[in-house]
Symmetry: C2
DNA sequence: TATGATTATCTCAGATTCAAGATAATTTAA
DNA sequence: TTAAATTATCTTGAATCTGAGATAATCATA
């Protein structure tokens, strides 16, 4: 009976992503944001005005969670809801000035932080890693 | 102002691991188990009797969550708690016959499932992927 | 135009997680 | 031996997420 641990690439991939996730969580927590909250702000910062649904599709959480996280960020004054004049089912979300200012401050540090986690790879290695991961991702 | 998306290896790595995580969650849900519950059973199946603490260290969840998940699995008759005679603070956990039988049934399918997600890589590519991921992981 | 299907958002209950603190047992060291 | 520190587990409360269902608006089509 074989009860040994499974697939090595699988194990190392999941360990690595989990470790990265943890480190980013801690980093973002310094700004009193959870990863979900940060992800919402990041989408808005990069793409500008978005509907709640669009944001949810980007960061892959349920509609119930979207309402919850948008509520929190709105109460904190980082974003605002606006009715869509063309379709009254839809709500547009945009960053407030405070939200933009916060992201102006956070994002450069965040990018630097992410880059630092990968700077042990040279550009060939980065390319190879991306290629192999995509091969896996597209099959999953 | 650069608001473009960050580091490509980072993005692809996180996307891939998230996709895998989701697929495994769905697969395991077929047996009415969550990933945390399955992970506990997997540790016990591979290693035999373990203390609650040892299991928690393996799967990296808090002691409060350990109590909760062990409770659930115990009520379901898949594992049992046993006092440690040498140290009365410690509780040993083992799979019941039902727990072993369930894992005997689940694990082969699970391994096959995991393998199938990586079978687009040949063994050279697997080796390269592991090497690069370890390089990242050890730096994180 | 009326009806049925779809879509976007929200509400609510339940599940899961963690952090902090409680409890009880063991170890260390004065 | 005894007090302090450490350790293992459990309890509790708060936070976050999901899924199912509610509501309201829009679309498609006969």
């Amino acid at each position: 009976m074989n009860r040994k641990c499974s697939n090595l690439p699988f194990l190392v991939l999941m360990q690595t992503s989990k470790a990265i996730h943890e480190r980013i969580k801690d980093e973002i927590a310094k700004n009193n944001l959870g990863i979900t909250e940060f992800s919402v702000l990041e989408v808005l910062y990069q793409k500008g005005k978005q509907t709640i649904q669009q944001i949810g599709n980007c960061i892959l959480i349920s509609s119930g969670s979207m309402t919850y996280v948008i509520d929190k960020l709105e109460k904190r004054g980082l974003l605002c809801r606006n009715a869509c004049p063309d379709d009254r089912r839809v709500i547009h979300v945009t960053l407030t000035d405070a939200g933009n200012a916060l992201m102006d401050e956070i994002m450069p540090k965040y990018h630097e932080f992410v880059n630092s986690m990968f700077d042990s790879l040279n550009s060939d290695e980065e390319e190879t890693l991306v290629r192999l991961l995509k091969k896996v991702r597209d099959k999953v």
